[in-house]
C-alpha cells in the first residue's frame, strides 16, 4: 500500500493522459458489455412488463396462432370448471395520424366483464374511467385512452382521435381516460381500449377473437389448468401463460444478442491488449525506479504485487467508469432495440426504465478487473525480473526473453495445424468446430507479434526510400520495441478482423435478401391493408381477390396469408400461398427438392420450408413435420427447401387450399399482383386505387417500393452492426494513440538528439507520423487477413447455431477498401498530438531524459 502511494500515485499523476488512455480500453469494453446487455434486458423487461400489464390478472391465454378464435371457443372456455373468468381480446397496432405519435396498441375487450381481469383504474370509481359505459358500448367509435396519451395530445372526454382502420381513416371518440398505473404504462401510454365487438368490425376480424384471456378457478394450479384447458380444446390451440409471448421477442433478439456478445468479448479483448501494452511500457519506463526499489531491498514478489495491484486498480477504476458509461450507453441502445422489435408488436416500446441487473454489474466489474489483471500479469512478471544493477546503469537497455518468441511461434504453429485439421475433418461436430475456432484464434494471437515484426522489417526499405531519415527512424523504433508494437498491432488486427467479419456477414445477408427480393418476391404490385408487409393487424376478405382480377391490366393475383404459428414451442411464420402460381413465377432454383415441388405442394402433398428453419431443425426434403392446426394435428411431407426471408424465425410455405381447410381461415394479408405484358404497373396501380379507395383500407405498393422498404428494414438491422464497427475502429484508434504517446515518451531523448544534431521539427513530426502509418499498415495487413479467417467462422457459427442461414462466403472488398484510407487517416490523426508533444517539449530536458 505504501509503495502504491509513494511510487504509483506520483507516476499516475505525471501521466494523467496516459492513465486515462490505458483505462479507456477497459472502460469501453465494460461499457459495451454492460450497455448492450442492459439495453437488451431493459427492452425485454419493458416488453415483459407491457405483456404483464396488458394481461392483467389473466393467468392463461388461449390462441390459435394468429388465425383467430371462433366466438364459440369463448363460451366453451367460460363453461370449463377450471375457469373462473374468461374474456375475449383483440389486439391491433393502429396508426393514429396524430402528430408525434406512432402506432397505438388498441386492446379490444368486452368491457362488461373485462374488469374481472384488468384494472382500468386503480384509484376510484368507474366514472373516472368511462363517462358512460352504455354509450361506450352503444357507439362503435368509443375509445378509452391513457392519461399520458391524453395529456400528450391534449385530449379530453369527447375529443376525437383519427385512426387508420379497414374502412380508411376513422375518427374515434374518447369516452374514457384511464388513470395512471398498471395497464396505462404499457407502451408508454400508447394504448387504447375499445369494445371487442366493435373491433371485430373495425379491424376486419369477422366473428373471431385474437385470443381469450382467462383466470383460473380457485385451487386450480397453473400447470393443471393449462393442461386441462388444452386437452378440452384439442390441438391447434395454444394455452400459455402471458409471459410466454415474450418468447417471440427473445427469438427476434437472438441474432442481435449474438452479435452484441461477440462485440463485448472483442472490446474487452482489445482493452486487454491496450492495458498490456501500457503496462509493458510503464515497466520499461520505470525500470530505473524498479532498480532503485530492488536495490533498496524490495523483493521480486513485492514488485510483482505492486504492478499487479496497479493493474487491478486500473481495472477497477476503468470498470466502474465502464459501468457508468454502459448504463448511459444502454439508454441510447435501448431506444434502438425498441425500434427493432417494434415490428413484432407493431408499436415501439418506450423503454423508460433501465434495468440495471446487479449480477450484470458484478459480472462487468469482475470482467474488467480480471481482464486488467490478466493484461498486467506479464508486465508485472517482467518488472519483477528487472535486474537492479543493469537498470541503474544509464543508457543501457535490458533485453528481455528472446526464448519466449520461439516457444510462442512453436505453439502458434501447433495450434494452427490443429485448427486446420479440425476445420477439415470435423465439419459435422459442433464441439470440434468450436475447438477449431478457439485454436485458430489462439494461433493467430500467438503468431501476430512475429508476423507484425516481419511486416515491419519488410516495411523498412520502402519507408526509407520514401524518407531516408524519418522512414528509417520510424521503422527502427517499431522494430526495436516489438512488444509495444505487436500489442497495438494485435489490438488493431482484432478490431479490423471484427469489422471485416461483420462487414462480410452484413454483405452476405444483404446480398441474400436482395437476391430473394429479385428472384422470388417479383410481383409487379402488392396490395396490402397496411403500409408495410409485416403488420398483420388488418386482413382482406378473399372475395377482394376476384375483384382485383377484374381490374384492367391485371394478369394474375396471388393470395397470400402470413400467419405466425407455434412449432415445437417457438414461433415461426406460416405463409399460405397459391403454390402452383408461385412455382410458375419464382426464378430461383430450390436449395433442396425436386423441380416440381410447387406443383406437388399445390396438390396438397406437402409443404416447402425455408432453408434456415430446416437447417436449425435438421429437416430435409423427403422428411416430414407435424403442424398443429385448429382442425387437429397434421403430419405433412417436406417437399423442398427454399431461401425465404419473409421471417427470420423460419418460414413454412403451404398451399392456400390446405391452409383454408385446416385453419378455417380464408382471409388474405397481401395480394400479389402480376400485370399483363405491356401494361404499366403504375397505371394498374392507379386503377386499383381509384376503384377500391374509400371502400377498403388498401395500399398498393410497387415492386420497387417493396424492395426499397425491405432494403430499409435490412439497413435498420445492419445499422447496429455498423455502430459496432464504429466502436471497433474507435478502439483501434485508441490503441494507436496509446502506443504512439508512449512511444514518444519512450524516445524523447532520441528525438531530442535528432533535433540537437540538426533535425527540424518537421522532420521529427514526420518520423512520428510515419511510425503511426507503419502501425496502421501492419495492422491493416494483419486485420484483413485475420478478418478473412474470422468471417469464415462467423458465417459457419451463424449457420449452425444462430440463424440457420447458409450465407455464401464473400470477402467484403468494399469494406476493406474503405478501411484502408480510414485506418491510415485515423493513424495519422492519432499521431498528430504525440508528434506535437515530441517537438514542443524542452530540448534540454529531452536530452537529459532517461
Amino acid at each position: 500500500m505504501m509503495l502504491l502511494r509513494l511510487i504509483t500515485w506520483p507516476y499516475v499523476r505525471r501521466h494523467r493522459l496516459r492513465t486515462l488512455l490505458t483505462t479507456a480500453g477497459i472502460v469501453l469494453g465494460v461499457a459495451v458489455f454492460v450497455g448492450m446487455r442492459t439495453a437488451n434486458e431493459s427492452v425485454l423487461l419493458a416488453f415483459r412488463q407491457t405483456i404483464d400489464r396488458i394481461a392483467g390478472k389473466a393467468e392463461l391465454q388461449v390462441a390459435a396462432g394468429e388465425g383467430g378464435l371462433p366466438e364459440d371457443v369463448l363460451e366453451r372456455v367460460q363453461a370449463m370448471p377450471e375457469v373462473r373468468a374468461a374474456v375475449p381480446v383483440i389486439e391491433a397496432a393502429v396508426g393514429t395520424n396524430l402528430a408525434s405519435e406512432g402506432n397505438v396498441l388498441v386492446l379490444a375487450v368486452d368491457m362488461t366483464g373485462d374488469r374481472s381481469l384488468r384494472d382500468y383504474d386503480l384509484e376510484s370509481g368507474d366514472e373516472a374511467v368511462i363517462d358512460d359505459p352504455l354509450v361506450f358500448l352503444a357507439q362503435p367509435d368509443s375509445l378509452i385512452v391513457t392519461r399520458e396519451f391524453a395529456a400528450r395530445n391534449g385530449l379530453a372526454i369527447g375529443s376525437t382521435v383519427p385512426m387508420r382502420t379497414m374502412e380508411g381513416e376513422k375518427r374515434f371518440t374518447v369516452r374514457g381516460i384511464m388513470k395512471s398505473g398498471g395497464l396505462t404504462q404499457a407502451f408508454g401510454g400508447n394504448l387504447a381500449v375499445m369494445d371487442v365487438y366493435a373491433a371485430q368490425m373495425v379491424f376486419g376480424r369477422g366473428r373471431t377473437f385474437d385470443r381469450v384471456d382467462l383466470a383460473l378457478s380457485e385451487g386450480v394450479g397453473l400447470e393443471r389448468g393449462r393442461l386441462a384447458i388444452g386437452a378440452r380444446l384439442g390441438p391447434g390451440y395454444q394455452v400459455e401463460p402471458p409471459a410466454s409471448r415474450g418468447r417471440q421477442i427473445d427469438s427476434v433478439l437472438r441474432v442481435y444478442s449474438f452479435t452484441a456478445d461477440m462485440n463485448s468479448a472483442f472490446a474487452l479483448f482489445i482493452g486487454m491488449f491496450i492495458i498490456y501494452n501500457a503496462f509493458s511500457i510503464a515497466v520499461t519506463e520505470r525500470r530505473r525506479e524498479i532498480g532503485i526499489l530492488r536495490a533498496l531491498g524490495a523483493s521480486r514478489a513485492r514488485i510483482r504485487a505492486l504492478f499487479l495491484a496497479e493493474s487491478g486498480i486500473a481495472g477497477l477504476a476503468g470498470s466502474l467508469a465502464g459501468l457508468a458509461l454502459g448504463v448511459l450507453l444502454s439508454k441510447g441502445l435501448a431506444l434502438y432495440i425498441s425500434g427493432l422489435i417494434a415490428g413484432v408488436y407493431g408499436i415501439a416500446e418506450r423503454t423508460t426504465e433501465i434495468a440495471t441487473e446487479p449480477w450484470l454489474m458484478a459480472a462487468g466489474l469482475l470482467m474488467g478487473v480480471a481482464t486488467s489483471l490478466a493484461a498486467g500479469w506479464i508486465p508485472a512478471r517482467n518488472a519483477a525480473r528487472v535486474d537492479p544493477i543493469q537498470a541503474l546503469q544509464k543508457g543501457r537497455y535490458q533485453t528481455l526473453s528472446a526464448g519466449e518468441n520461439r516457444v510462442r511461434r512453436a505453439a502458434a504453429l501447433a495450434l494452427g495445424g490443429a485448427s486446420l485439421a479440425l476445420l477439415l475433418f470435423a465439419k459435422g461436430w459442433t464441439v470440434l468446430f468450436y475447438a477449431g475456432y478457439i485454436c485458430a484464434a489462439l494461433a493467430l494471437l500467438l503468431v501476430s507479434p512475429t508476423v507484425s515484426l516481419w511486416l515491419t522489417k519488410a516495411l523498412r526499405p520502402p519507408l526509407r526510400r520514401l524518407r531516408p531519415v524519418e522512414g528509417a527512424l520510424a521503422a527502427d523504433s517499431l522494430i526495436q520495441a516489438p512488444r509495444r508494437t505487436s500489442a497495438t498491432v494485435t489490438a488493431l488486427m482484432l478490431s479490423l478482423s471484427l469489422v471485416i467479419a461483420m462487414g462480410g456477414v452484413a454483405r452476405a445477408v444483404y446480398d441474400s435478401i436482395m437476391g430473394w427480393t429479385r428472384t422470388t418476391l417479383n410481383p409487379d404490385l402488392f396490395v396490402t391493408a397496411t403500409q408495410n408487409l409485416t403488420e398483420r393487424t388488418f386482413r382482406f376478405p378473399e372475395s377482394l381477390g376476384d375483384q382485383l382480377e377484374e381490374v384492367e391490366g391485371v394478369e394474375e393475383i396471388q393470395r397470400v396469408r402470413t400467419h405466425r404459428i407455434v412449432y415445437e414451442g417457438s414461433p415461426i411464420m406460416l405463409v399460405a400461398v397459391e403454390a402452383k402460381s408461385m412455382g410458375d413465377r419464382v426464378r430461383r432454383p430450390p436449395v433442396e427438392g425436386p423441380g416440381d415441388m410447387y406443383e406437388r405442394a399445390a396438390r396438397g402433398e406437402g409443404v416447402i420450408l425455408s432453408d434456415n428453419f430446416a437447417r436449425l431443425r435438421g429437416l430435409h426434403a423427403g422428411g416430414s413435420i407435424e403442424l398443429d392446426t385448429p382442425s387437429g394435428p397434421r403430419r405433412v411431407a417436406v417437399l423442398g427447401l427454399v431461401v425465404d426471408w419473409t421471417d427470420q424465425t423460419g418460414v413454412v410455405l403451404i398451399d392456400r387450399a390446405s391452409y383454408v381447410r385446416w385453419w378455417r381461415d380464408d382471409t388474405v394479408n397481401v395480394f400479389r399482383v402480376y400485370v399483363k405484358n405491356g401494361a404499366r404497373p403504375q397505371e394498374v396501380r392507379q386503377r386499383i386505387v381509384e376503384r377500391f379507395a374509400g371502400a377498403h383500407r388498401l395500399f398498393v405498393l410497387t415492386n420497387r417500393e417493396v424492395a426499397a422498404w425491405i432494403a430499409g428494414l435490412t439497413d435498420q438491422w445492419m445499422s447496429l452492426a455498423y455502430a459496432q464497427i464504429a466502436i471497433a475502429v474507435f478502439v483501434a484508434i485508441l490503441g494507436i494513440v496509446n502506443t504512439l504517446t508512449v512511444s514518444i515518451i519512450d524516445r524523447r531523448r532520441e528525438l531530442g538528439v535528432l533535433q540537437a544534431v540538426g533535425g527540424t521539427r518537421g522532420q521529427v513530426r514526420r518520423t512520428v507520423w510515419m511510425e503511426a502509418l507503419a502501425i496502421g499498415t501492419v495492422g491493416l495487413a494483419l486485420g484483413l487477413g485475420v478478418g478473412a479467417v474470422t468471417l469464415n467462422y462467423v458465417l459457419e457459427m451463424s449457420q449452425r447455431d444462430v440463424t440457420g442461414l447458409a450465407l455464401p462466403y464473400t470477402f467484403p472488398w468494399g469494406t476493406a477498401a474503405l478501411l484502408v484510407p480510414l485506418i491510415l487517416a485515423s493513424a495519422f490523426v492519432a499521431a498528430l498530438w504525440p508528434a506535437e508533444s515530441a517537438v514542443r517539449g524542452s530540448l534540454v530536458e529531452a536530452l537529459e531524459y532517461e
Partner: protein, 258 residues
Amino acid sequence: MTRRIRVLSVMLPLALGLVQPRAAAAQSAREVMEESQKRGQAASQHYEGLLQVVDARGKISDKRWIFDRLGSHGRSRAVLTFMEPPEVRGVALLVVNHPDRASDQWMWTPAIQRERRIALQDRSTRFFGTDFSFEDLEERDTEQYDFRAIADEAIDGAACWKIEAKPRTGKSSQYTLSYVWVRKDNYAFQLVENYARGALARRLRYSRIENVQGIWAGRVLEMTDVRRNSRTVLTLDKLQYNLPMKEERFTLQALRRQ
C-alpha cells in the same frame, strides 16, 4: 311446481305488486316471502323506466328504457330497450329466465348489428354504469334461500317484517346475506339490504308504493351502491300488467330484426 322468488330483483316490485293485505298473525318468514311472491303474479308487464344515476360527485345522468316482460316468473322472458339518450337508442337487453338454472342474457348493439352474451362470470358487474348489477335483473328461486324472521320494524312509517335471506349454496350469488323488509299491510317490499362478505354492499329502497291493476308495488326504486357512494333512481311510468304480448318478440332473432 317450484315456487320462485325474485329477491333483490328490479322486476320484483313490478311482479309482486298484486298483493292483497291479509291478516298474517304468525306466519313464518318463508310463508311471508312466498305470499309476497304469489301476490305479484301477472301474465305480462310493461313500463317505461326513467333511470337516473347520481355519482359520488353528485353528477346526474338520465336514461330511459321500455321494459316488457312475458310469462310466469321463473320462466319469464324480458326485453329492456333503451330509448334515451340518443346515443344509446336501440340498445337492448334480452333476459331469458330458466326454472332450473341461471338466466341467459344478451345485449344487442344496433350500431354494429351485434349481440353479445353476458357471461355468467360477469353478472356481478354493474349494469351499464348504473348501481344495479346484471344479477340484480335476475329472478331467483325461493328454494335457493334460507329465510329467518329477525324483527318487526317500521320503515318510512310502514310496519314491516325484517327477514334475513341466505343463499343455500355459497357461490350462486355475489351476495352472502340479505335483509328484506316486507310490508305487513300489502306484502310489498319496502327495503332490501345486500351484504357481501360481511359488509353492506347495496341498498334498495322502494317508495311511492301504489296499487296498479290490483298489484301493490313501489313506483320509485332507489339503489345505493354503498361502497362507491353512488345511487341510481328508477322511476316506473305507464306501468301496466297483463297486456297481450307475442312470444316471438322475446328472442335474439327479434332483436336482430329490430
